[in-house]
Symmetry: C2
Subunit: 342 residues, 2 copies
């Protein structure tokens, strides 16, 4: 841990520390020769500037921090990948910070801001319904990506990229109705969900009503509390309940593709078939939905575009002081082989 400092480099080069500093940050007013000499020495002794000291001095660092809640959600993987690429393209450094499901992302963010002095922040996943005031405390540009809030928030106070979860959910359930299904179940998140889980459920309800079907509470299968709700394991378990519930549902709409896949597997393991015995649809448009057998009928969220839009918006805000805005992307109904006409 006895690493070499800028002073040492200066001594070795026989110059002042400020000259070394100038070489590092390639300032304009420095002799080209001296600069090369210094850089050479730095390379030889592989000196690395202490970033803590830098951040202490500098007002901001060229860093974007991504806070992610639910890192095991496969939906985020693709986004993170693109974030990383885009951020590197802008020659910023990219810090990924996991947020525990119990933590408040804004509190965590505040600390990291102090430490890293990042130029911008992306929040991925989580539930912001109760964090409105806290968000106001953030004094640097930030974008909520793929985060829904069921409450009304002041639209000038934040930026977001998302799909209209309720409308997309409505779209899917309408499609199922159009295929002749009358008894459509919903594989839901937890009952207390206040985010996308709730919105998708609302879309489901509304679609049924608009098709003159009275939603039956017994058609809704909530996730148990002891299991991550957006997982295949949960889908499997809930679908087992569906099959023993006595409800003669012909179709199931799952709150996510992972849940849909778990549900399919439960059907297979029961010796039945999808879509003959049950039509099953998902939400997200994960790669695996396409590669599954049968391919899952789903709502494809335009992940790439959304990720790109997220970084673009963030950098626009950083550079041009662009206004806060909420961008809503349209999902695409992708019909696979997991649903059928009845």
């Amino acid at each position: 841990m006895d690493s070499i400092t800028i002073k040492d480099v200066a001594k070795i080069c026989g110059v002042g520390v400020s000259t070394v500093s100038r070489a590092i940050n390639n300032h304009p007013d420095i002799n080209e020769e001296t600069k090369n000499m210094v850089l050479q020495v730095i390379r030889e002794h592989n000196y690395i500037p202490n970033n803590s000291a830098r951040n202490l001095k500098r007002s901001v660092s060229r860093t974007i921090v991504v806070f992610i809640k639910g890192i095991d959600n496969p939906f985020f993987s693709a986004m993170i990948k693109i974030f990383g690429e885009e951020i590197q393209n802008h020659r910023y450094s990219f810090l990924l910070h996991r947020v525990d499901s119990g933590e408040n992302e804004v509190d965590v963010a505040m600390e990291v801001i102090k430490e890293k002095k990042p130029k911008g922040i992306i929040f991925l996943g989580g539930y912001f319904s109760h964090s409105q005031k806290k968000l106001g405390q953030l004094d640097i540009p930030f974008v909520l990506s793929t985060i829904a809030s069921t409450e009304q928030m002041d639209r000038n106070r934040f930026s977001s990229i998302s799909v209209d979860d309720m409308a997309e959910s409505y779209k899917m359930v309408s499609y199922l109705c159009g295929q002749g299904h009358k008894k459509i179940g919903f594989l839901a998140a937890t009952p207390d969900d206040e985010s996308i889980g709730k919105l998708r459920l609302m879309g489901y309800r509304k679609a049924l009503l608009d098709h003159n079907i009275t939603p039956d509470p017994r058609w809704i299968f909530y996730s148990d509390e002891d299991i991550e709700c957006y997982t295949m394991g949960n889908g499997y378990r809930q679908m087992q309940k569906v099959m023993t519930s006595g409800q003669d549902l012909t179709a199931l709409f799952a709150v996510s593709d992972s849940v849909a896949i778990g549900a399919c597997k439960a059907v297979f393991d029961a010796g039945k078939s999808v879509p003959q015995d049950y039509s099953i649809a998902g939400f997200d448009g994960l790669d695996i939905a396409r590669y599954y057998n049968p391919a899952i009928t789903t709502i494809r969220q335009p992940v790439e575009e959304m990720a790109l839009a997220t970084t673009k918006l963030l950098f626009d805000m950083i550079r041009n002081k662009a206004q806060n805005q909420q961008k809503v992307f349209k999902g695409e109904l992708v019909v696979g082989q997991s649903t059928r006409t009845v």
Copy 2:
């Protein structure tokens, strides 16, 4: 960004900065009352210590950094989740740092060490065959998790957690041979792979030889360079090549579950069936392998145990100055419905 500093807090409290510092870091020699008073003020003004300044002073910070190469690999998701939990259990903070596939993880690590002064490091993914000397430069405890190296490395110089990729691969191919398969193809990583891709290929070759089958180079389908090799998309594409290759293979062993799933889908899309027309096996034991239809025959790596072992080993090294060691876990052959006797 006009945030409040320790001085301000001291002034407000009417005490010296050192007293505030003592309160924050709850030092023993401080009056309980003063301490509570200071803490109260801190809470009211929601003061957050500047970590850059702290790290600049302190020799080390209570942080573990996880470097991950290939964040979109679903195999890592579960591990990261456990890392996060364990690290938080130890009351350390957890920093996830993505490493671009072009970057050298050790170089990146060196910089982050300077900045964060972490107590330990975990490397996840990547290829360390050429970084041996560089690893020596790391002067804090680190563990390579799920990283294979094909070259010989000095076993006292590093710690690692992994499975014996070659042996496990051998196990799977032997199983396929035992099921009567004679012509077994391999869906490989890239030809220049020097890590797990190579080891798994070596295991495949050895198993064939030991079963008196001469490996035919035309049975090996390498990933194209323009695609991520451990993906479903790659599996799909390679399997299409298999089907038009004229090689009448009866079984395919894929370098990963994702690749196996892509391959299955290609078979289905060609109007054929798994395992009737082709037996297909994977490697990793992802959740999706179990939930796929048919369930993928695979080698299950004990992810949880491995992740737990990784953190345990790291903390042991941090605390007890435990010796470097290489822990090799045994994989489990999980027979699904994607393979059959021939």
